[in-house]
Symmetry: D3
């Protein structure tokens, strides 16, 4: 059993806002992150798959395939976008929207990646980590 | 003569848009950066002052003072903001706005910092560098 | 279940010395680290909490709260200090002192942080990692 | 129980080639990595040992000893070498050779390190991680 | 005048060998770098152009254009290659070959990039830096 | 003309204290850095030499030679030491001591390195940079 990880980066805007709260409460809880014009980050997405090494290729999965999965399933939708306005899982109708915190980005990336990795023979998605800055990151392992 | 540098980071949104162009031309020239909802970055600002070492303190300038100047003159206005919407030198009336590219951020940071550093005895602003990502940065040295 | 991590840095001095040994034995075992004048490091402290995401905020815990806990419980006591001389768990009376190795710093940081994190609803301290340099780090997960 | 990690770096060449395949198939599967003249990387090897802290030294294991084990068992054989041509586990007779992918490097490093760490009282090898670039790494934990 | 920099990475093999010397002298001078099977690195190439900011775009040069120039002029020829065997300026006939040291890579990258940058209106190539590892780099500024 | 740079790291303790001032004034000016027990850093020293490339070796200077010069002239005296207590240029008799700020470390490293580099044919010391943390660094170029 080997754990193979690939990193990718994307740049996106977001803000934190709970529409069921007043502006005052949003500013009190979320501080500068509540600015509705948005602010942004260079995010790093770290995707880990687990599986056995194929003796024919020496691969758990083909890293070019994994790069393409990450590009197609996550970066095409999130890179150079405003998460609250352009990305379905955070935009929707706002009253039911999920706030695009680092925690929720990790869960959303898992949901986007898991079906594609699941189809790859002998490998499973093991871990998704999202860095908002080098100092802050959230990790989801598919645990309920 | 010593060159003393302090780094700081800020997170901001921006987009690239020339209002005298059509939407098509903006998208052709600026690509994904033309998305009007904005996208964002973790910027790094690197400020270098030059001067002689004060034999009494061992300092060119006090780094706590330099940190406060950077915070007051640049970060208070730029951090967790949308550069095109919240920041005067890039917002103004849009038809005369400066596009918040990395190049223009370096020049704007210089203009914000230079008067304060100029007042410090025996030191001058030598260089301002802005990293948009670890792979892209612009540097301004006050040269015409 | 999400694992949320925040990093912080502190600068401190230390030396390695077992008072029940001769100077020769200390120098033989600890090498240059046995210099009683001390030497120092820029340490990085990485604190991970585990819990469910609150659907109202999108947070496992508020990262500003976590930053303040790290500042109050660890950095206020350790940053810009000499661990062997200024910090209670390593200074005490020397004959019973714990040597401030990276391993012991990780355990001591856990003990300082765990009570505060424990009180936070729905979150628990999952992991504490201390980097002495980018090449050396110790991790404690609360395991006996 | 503490997990103590030490990093080391080495520079090596390699290529990917399955001798039971045609040149066309090798190029199709392995792309630019199939260039038989080889290409190279600055690899980072991250070795984690787990154990209790010795109250006499404050160590899980002596980091100088761990550095020497890594140097003697792995770097002396791999650093500044061509993995496919100079290193026994990847060279052998080519028809039975293991392809030096990041995954197989992690397993091979584990096999080289585990006997030495196993002899150290109260510590065991917990994890070996190999970074081919900062964006790609493989991890082996000794799991079947 | 603004200095705009873009980084790129490539992975390549090389060895150091002066064909007019004996094997003993090559090993004495070049040490482990004289291994004729080669070893390799993840190189970082840092390209700086200088010029005025175009008020219409906010650019010194278009960074997508600069990325394409670097890809076409340098990376297409050097990435995933053996510098001594696959790259014209270091291979040639060996008796006249230039040794692919970091210094010579910086000069060779300058020669490959300068004609394309020179054609860009209002910009000139200012500096080329090549990192062999994070600890070693060479810089060429076009000075005789 | 090529600029060739090598980095090295060292860990040291220091404090800031002007003996002609009262304790109150020292604490007011130097803040937490005035703690007489000291605190410490992982410093990075970056040494740049300038010269022509020797066509026989492809070197400006031999990087192994440069590593040995840095080790012998600087690291042997500064690494794992207390700068105020163990290092001549900062210890001396205290009333005449130079305060070991990052600025003064850069000048002192230049003075230690310059005579050895000066003797190397065709190369001169061009720049010395000292990082106290990744956020703070001082650079000396030998300018009066």
């Amino acid at each position: 059993m080997i754990y193979l990880t690939r990193r990718a980066t994307f740049s996106a805007s977001h803000y934190y806002w709970n529409p069921s709260w007043s502006a005052e409460k949003n500013e009190q809880v979320f501080g500068r992150c509540a600015n509705r014009n948005g602010h942004g980050h260079n995010y790093t997405l770290e995707v880990t798959v687990a599986g056995d090494v194929d003796p024919v290729t020496g691969f758990v999965v083909d890293l070019k395939w994994l790069r393409d999965v990450i590009e197609r399933e996550v970066l095409a939708a999130w890179d150079h976008r405003h998460l609250n306005l352009d990305v379905p899982e955070f935009a929707a109708t706002e009253s039911t929207a999920t706030i695009p915190t680092t925690e929720n980005l990790a869960i959303a990336a898992w949901k986007r990646l898991e079906p594609s990795v699941h189809k790859a023979d002998g490998a499973r998605l093991s871990r998704v980590r999202v860095y908002e800055t080098p100092e802050i990151f959230a990790e989801f392992r598919g645990e309920a």
